[in-house]
């Protein structure tokens, strides 16, 4: 950097006398600036002053590295880049423009999307950024970045750079499978090393993105007017996951698509154990819409895919054999669970080779699929002495040069290491939050071992389910079923064609009676949508026997809304939706259950009688 600084200094010497000359020649007020311009300027200053209060300068490794972040809640949750927090590990120091240095802990990481959530400690009234809607951002809109370029914020004051939005819905390919920037915002506001993880604001001071990447190429790692920010709407989708303390994965459809000569997006391969396959997607199908967006190019499809977390169910429209299908598809993970852990932990991230890379999944494509120039993550460590970025490598100060920070005693309670988690503390926090909100309606731990549910359908007959501690029995219209709880549950999916309704109800009873601590392995997944329902739901994942079940809780009321019971991987779950909650003896019981399996409704159950203290012999 000596050269660069030298050049600027030389300019300075040449220019300063000229500027002084101008100033003396022109008394103040000689230039008549129109009032609207002055007003606009004043407004801009105020917006920037307000917005920059939420900016965080991250100092990792005893000040040897760092980057930027932005606080998004009053209690100090802050967004940053995975590649910024990674070298720091569990604990880092963060400064804010108020002149204070705060301790912060890692909450969750999203290595694929290059996002990390951290939590600053010590206040519950942090200044925080207001979220914007990045889908409303237009090319040509003003925007500004706030951050810690070149680690200049040693005086705790962040740097503001101003620019316009140069592009939206940009796709920047990953390095391997990590650090993929899908649907990102391109800006000519200066994004330099150290800006990584910091906020990109719109002209109103709303948070529209997290800066993290730039195109640099041969001019060295300083801004050349091309920076990229992860869109805030993508992060909104992941927000529940990012609060979960987990190592979060992105999604794949389980199918490969490419553009054909007619500009259609065609499926060229489908995994047979993918949900997409089970929903009817086949080779040759034309993708029409995905995730609520029309699909016109393979890149557009990849862009949309990049904004959704693993395990979400997302609307997909496709045409096959002339017929249109509108379905919800459950997305698979980009990585195997072990694979993601390995990649997220300490393995040096491969820097994109300094040569053009093939376009994403469009082999031999026409010019629209031309190789892109190499894009690079902004190094998180701008000018460290020992770990200066080497060309072609991401500096990973977890390697030579790293100094482990000593975690202060008062911070230690906020950190719970556990395999598979970025910080298990936060998973427990939300698991308990969700469970406490649910049991606020009345706890089920003191109900009997056997529950009996009875319905008298209008068409006659009797429906009866008895949930016991040894077995589950069910009598339905024209069907009987039972489950021996001492045997492999995944093999007993009665009644037929239900996907395992009796097992699902057993899992429901087990969770309600035992709670997450006694149930087995229960963790907080984050938030996810339910097809046909508004909003997002808190999800607890519970593993018992070979069965994995997802419990969906309504965040405002705390009610259990649905269970998905997966008897195996690669098969459809039995879905039970709970409605019509009514009180019996101080507890809220769902008096209506809607059961789905695959693409269809299996049955509607409307209970006339629920006995939470039935005798086991009622099963007969």
């Amino acid at each position: 950097m000596k050269n660069g600084t030298g050049v600027i200094a030389a300019f300075g010497r040449a220019i300063v006398p000229v500027v002084l000359g101008l100033l003396t020649a022109m008394p103040a007020g000689a230039i008549d600036v129109p009032q609207p311009v002055l007003d606009a300027q004043q407004q801009r200053i105020e917006v920037i002053q307000q917005a920059m209060q939420s900016a965080v300068s991250i100092f990792a490794n005893e000040g040897q590295g760092g980057g930027s972040g932005v606080v998004i809640t009053p209690c100090g949750y802050a967004l940053s880049n995975f590649h910024v927090t990674k070298p720091a590990g569990d604990y880092m120091k963060c400064s804010m423009p108020d002149g204070r240095l705060y301790d912060a802990v890692i909450v969750s990481i999203d290595p694929t999307g290059d996002v990390a959530l951290i939590k600053l400690l010590g206040r519950d009234d942090f200044p925080y950024a207001t979220m914007g809607d990045s889908d409303q951002v237009r090319v040509g809109d003003w925007c500004f970045a706030v951050g810690n370029p070149f680690l200049l914020a040693t005086d705790f004051q962040p740097t503001v750079t101003f620019g316009i939005v140069s592009g939206v819905n940009r796709y920047q390919p990953p390095a391997g499978t990590l650090l993929e920037y899908a649907d990102c915002i391109q800006t000519d506001a200066s994004i330099n090393p150290g800006n990584s993880g910091g906020p990109l604001f719109d002209a109103q001071g709303k948070l529209i993105g997290i800066n993290g990447r730039g195109s640099f190429e041969k001019r060295g790692r300083v801004n050349v007017g091309v920076g990229y920010a992860i869109s805030i709407n993508q992060i909104k989708n992941f927000m529940g996951y990012l609060h979960s303390g987990r190592i979060v994965d992105h999604a794949t459809l389980g199918a490969i698509v490419s553009s054909d000569e007619d500009g259609r997006v065609i499926v060229t391969d489908v995994l047979e154990d993918s949900d997409a396959y089970r929903r009817g997607l086949r080779y040759g199908a034309e993708i029409l819409a995905f995730g609520g967006r029309p699909v016109t190019t393979a890149n557009g499809f990849k862009n949309t895919l990049g904004i959704f977390p693993r395990d979400w169910r997302v609307p997909l429209s496709f045409r096959l054999d002339g017929q249109r299908h509108d379905v919800y598809v459950r997305l698979m993970g980009v990585h195997g669970r072990e694979e993601l852990l390995t990649k997220a932990a300490g393995v040096p991230l491969p820097m994109p080779e300094p040569k053009p890379k093939p376009g994403p999944k469009q082999p031999g494509g026409p010019p629209g699929d031309q190789p892109r120039a190499p894009q690079e993550e902004i190094p998180d460590v701008p000018l460290p002495k020992k770990i200066r970025p080497q060309p072609g490598r991401i500096p990973i100060p977890g390697h030579p040069g790293q100094r482990e920070a000593v975690i202060p005693e008062h911070v230690q309670p906020w950190i719970k290491p556990r395999t598979g988690y970025a910080n298990y503390y936060f998973n427990e926090l939300h698991r308990d939050r969700v469970w406490n909100a649910f049991t606020a309606h009345g706890a089920f731990d003191e109900t009997g071992e056997t529950w009996a549910l009875r319905a008298a359908p209008a068409e006659g007959g009797e429906v009866r389910v008895v949930l016991g501690d040894q077995q589950v029995t069910g009598r339905f219209t024209g069907q009987m079923g039972q489950v021996d709880l001492t045997r492999d549950l995944g093999e007993q999916l009665d009644p037929p064609e239900s996907g395992g309704l009796l097992v699902a109800l057993h899992v429901w009873q087990r969770m309600l009676r035992l709670g997450p601590l006694q149930f087995g392995d229960v963790y907080y997944l984050g938030t996810a949508p339910l097809p046909g329902y508004d909003g997002l739901y808190d999800v607890l994942v519970a593993v018992h026997d070979v069965i994995e079940s997802h419990f969906f809780f309504e965040p405002d009321s705390g009610h259990l809304v649905a269970i998905e019971m997966f008897p195996d991987s690669g098969v459809d779950p039995c879905e039970v939706y709970f409605h019509d909650y009514r009180e019996i003896d101080g507890r809220q019981w769902p008096h209506a259950m809607h059961v789905r399996y695959g693409d269809r409704t299996v049955m509607e159950l409307n209970w006339d009688e629920i006995d939470p203290a039935a005798k086991p012999d009622d099963a007969s």
């Binding site: 237009r138 316009i164 002209a203 195109s215 010019p367 329902y533 909003g535 705390g558 809220q588």
Partner: protein, 362 residues
């Protein structure tokens, strides 16, 4: 009826209201609020100072150009823009166009094969034609505007090849820092163009940006973005655009067909005794490719070419004002020129452009 369909909108109000237990950690509440609140979006107040409307008007006129390259840091793409409703595209004259297969991607994602109509290496521009069936949006060169120092500008280009398929071009903003002659010389900025340029304070001239459009804040065309240019003196990069008035004559000549190479079956009558390479005293590099450029391999001593100082490795760009993109084009063109007439050659030697005239000894 308690029967409900899960496909119906979920109604939280159906549940009895509950008071939430106070969390032991302040953030539990905040996180929950966040969970409930983040799906709502508010439409941002329209910013009257946004360039979004102007940008949206310009974008349909932009084009992305794909051709030769892709090796050793040479990008196989550059930028361009439509200058006629019939599909004429103005772009930068570069190695990217050294191929039979030039593909032009219009703003709507249409990929069309571009035909090189002509070029002017002296100002580093070229004109392509793409087949379009209907009128397309375009910049009229006649309506181009001048800029003054300090004027604000928008630069549209496909820098770094960021915009793929139907993605719109990248847009940057800046100011005219200087109007000056480009100090093109060996050891400084190595380019054949030494005419007037707008020097910009934005980093517009990135890989792939050459041929992009520079507009004023009303979206009116003012210049064409130049190539990447680095001073070999201090390694600084220059961001510049060539004013449109510098190129209109050349574009006019190209559009009129005056610069096109003539093929052997052209109807123009041929002289009985035309110029030949042997007469000129030049040997070109062998015809190894379909479009081998006319590089001089050797100059016969004592020949007319030697007299005017032609050298090995000279690249013949123009012959009597017509572009000679290949060795074959040069040979064809020679066959139209009577050996009693002078031969005007534009030659590239290194970064220099030389104009030479060869006359047969009487």
């Amino acid at each position: 009826m308690n029967r409900t369909s899960p496909m119906r909108t979920f109604n939280a109000a159906r549940f009895p209201s509950t008071s939430r237990r106070p969390g032991s950690v302040c953030c539990i509440l905040a996180a929950a609020v966040l969970v409930g609140g983040w799906v709502t979006t508010t439409a941002p107040a329209a910013d009257p100072t946004s360039f979004a409307d102007v940008v949206a008007e310009v974008q349909p006129k932009m084009a992305k150009i794909y051709g030769a390259g892709g090796l050793r840091g040479l990008q196989a793409y550059q930028s361009g823009f439509l200058i006629s409703p019939d599909g004429h595209v103005l772009t930068s004259w570069s190695y990217v166009l050294d191929t039979d297969l030039i593909t032009v991607t219009l703003a709507d994602g249409r990929r069309l094969q571009g035909q090189l109509l002509g070029a002017d290496p002296r100002i580093e521009i070229a004109v392509l034609k793409v087949p379009v069936e209907e009128d397309v949006p375009y910049f009229s060169l006649d309506l181009a505007e001048d800029l003054e120092i300090g004027d604000r500008v928008l630069a549209f280009s496909n820098l770094f090849g960021v915009a793929m398929g139907d993605e719109p071009a990248s847009v940057q903003h800046g100011n005219v820092a200087m109007k000056t002659q480009l100090a093109a010389r060996r050891g400084a900025f190595e380019t054949p163009y030494d005419g007037p340029v707008y020097v910009l304070d934005a980093m517009t001239n990135n890989p792939g940006a050459a041929g992009g459009a520079l507009t004023n804040l009303r979206g009116e065309l003012t210049g064409i973005l130049g190539k990447e240019l680095r001073s070999t003196l201090n390694n600084t990069w220059l961001n510049y655009a060539v004013p449109i008035d510098q190129i209109t004559d050349s574009v006019e000549a190209i559009l009129a067909g005056r610069t096109l190479p003539r093929s052997v079956d052209d109807q123009t009558p041929k002289p009985a005794q035309p110029w030949t390479l042997g007469l000129l005293g030049v040997r070109l590099i062998p015809n190894v490719l379909p479009n081998t450029p006319p590089f001089v391999d050797a100059v016969v001593s004592g020949s007319p070419a030697a007299d005017v100082g032609m050298q090995p490795d000279d690249l013949i760009l123009f012959i009597n004002g017509r572009v000679a993109p290949s060795r074959q084009n040069l040979l064809d063109e020679l066959s139209f020129i009577d050996r009693i007439d002078p031969l005007h050659l534009t030659i590239q030697r290194g970064i220099q452009l030389l104009e030479i005239t060869v006359q047969q000894a009487p």
